[in-house]
Symmetry: C2
Subunit: 218 residues, 2 copies
Amino acid sequence: MNYSVSEENYIKAIFHLQGEGETVTTNALAAELKTRPASVTDMLKKLKTKKLVNYQPYHGFRLSPEGKKTALGIIRRHRLWEYFLSEKLKFEWNEVHEVAEHLEHVSSRKLIDKLEEYLGYPKFDPHGDPIPDSSGKMESSPQTMLSQLEPTQTGVVIQVSNQSPALLELLSARKIGIGTKIELLRKFVFDGSVEIRIGRSAPFIISEQLASNLFIRK
Amino acid sequence: MNYSVSEENYIKAIFHLQGEGETVTTNALAAELKTRPASVTDMLKKLKTKKLVNYQPYHGFRLSPEGKKTALGIIRRHRLWEYFLSEKLKFEWNEVHEVAEHLEHVSSRKLIDKLEEYLGYPKFDPHGDPIPDSSGKMESSPQTMLSQLEPTQTGVVIQVSNQSPALLELLSARKIGIGTKIELLRKFVFDGSVEIRIGRSAPFIISEQLASNLFIRK
DNA sequence: AATTTTTTTTAGATTTGTCTAAATTTTATT
DNA sequence: AATAAAATTTAGACAAATCTAAAAAAAATT
């Protein structure tokens, strides 16, 4: 029930890569963890004997139910620490991840449950990602502004904040509506504009104002 | 400047064992770390090349100035976390050590400085041990109740809490006053009484009430 | 001072997690 | 379907931290 830092990092990375139904490949995981494919194969053999992954040599892998539960536990710890760092210690939004990467491996159950209580049972971390409860359940990703996506992330428009005719006019010209699936490609620091793509169409750039008024779900 | 968990545990243990002027032996350190003498020798060769200890084979070792600074940094992290666990997360006094043993190895400077600020720059941890500041300085061990000493620890009486004639009468009968050096030999769980010795005299037992009203410095 | 006992170090092995280079399997292309 | 390319695994090596057993040095005892 207690795993090494390295094992935990593998479990977490597989969880992030496997999404809903995809099987994860050796190369993809090696890239994610900045390690070599051979190392991934080695570790996967170990995780398989521990029944944390379903792994068929040459055919990718996914977490077992037990592995998934473990991953959610690690993610819970990570996100609770992120919340603590941001909310209590006043870390900047972009600094919390790095430190939480280390704190997440301190695996005292009591520590995490008491931390959660102390923080007031937060439901989302500072990035807007949901925090699993002690049984592994979490709310579905909440809406975020399109402008808060990171490059290459994808989201579905679920709400438009400002119902002014001017906005609706622009949206219809851009062919964007509720349910439109948008991939964010680049962010331009200069004016906050972002380059996006809808489906397989040609990418185009929209203004900061527009991007901040489009609410999406990852 | 960044050391492994294992190296940090060795540095910390050497710091605790070396006290003021003693040199630490291989066997003593092995016992402290619950490892084997051969392992200690191996690690000490490494710590020597990193200039953290002064080590002459077969003749014991002490931390170098750099090693001492490192030790104080680790102890700082440990005691700040203990304070956090006790004060904020409401851990019991006796549960904090175990968890702090793990948290202390997360070595982000910024994390610890911000944690210290958040906690209000505490000077002592829940055990009464002083917390080093960011430059490694700390106050000398504060007064504690005699009843909080551990068996075989020694302390000097520096204050008597309750100036009632009844207490002073007992103290004079027991020949205890400010400056008296007391060694605690045993604690009796049943009624909290403790067996003590003053100098080379015969040991004797005093009540809980008395032991709790004698303030000592270790 | 010689001998025994204790302490410490060395030598060689083990485990975990990583790597490179080579071999193998799968996938893509002609 | 055969071949080339890409992905994956195996084989063997290495560093960190540990261990056991044996050797060497220091300390204690006769």
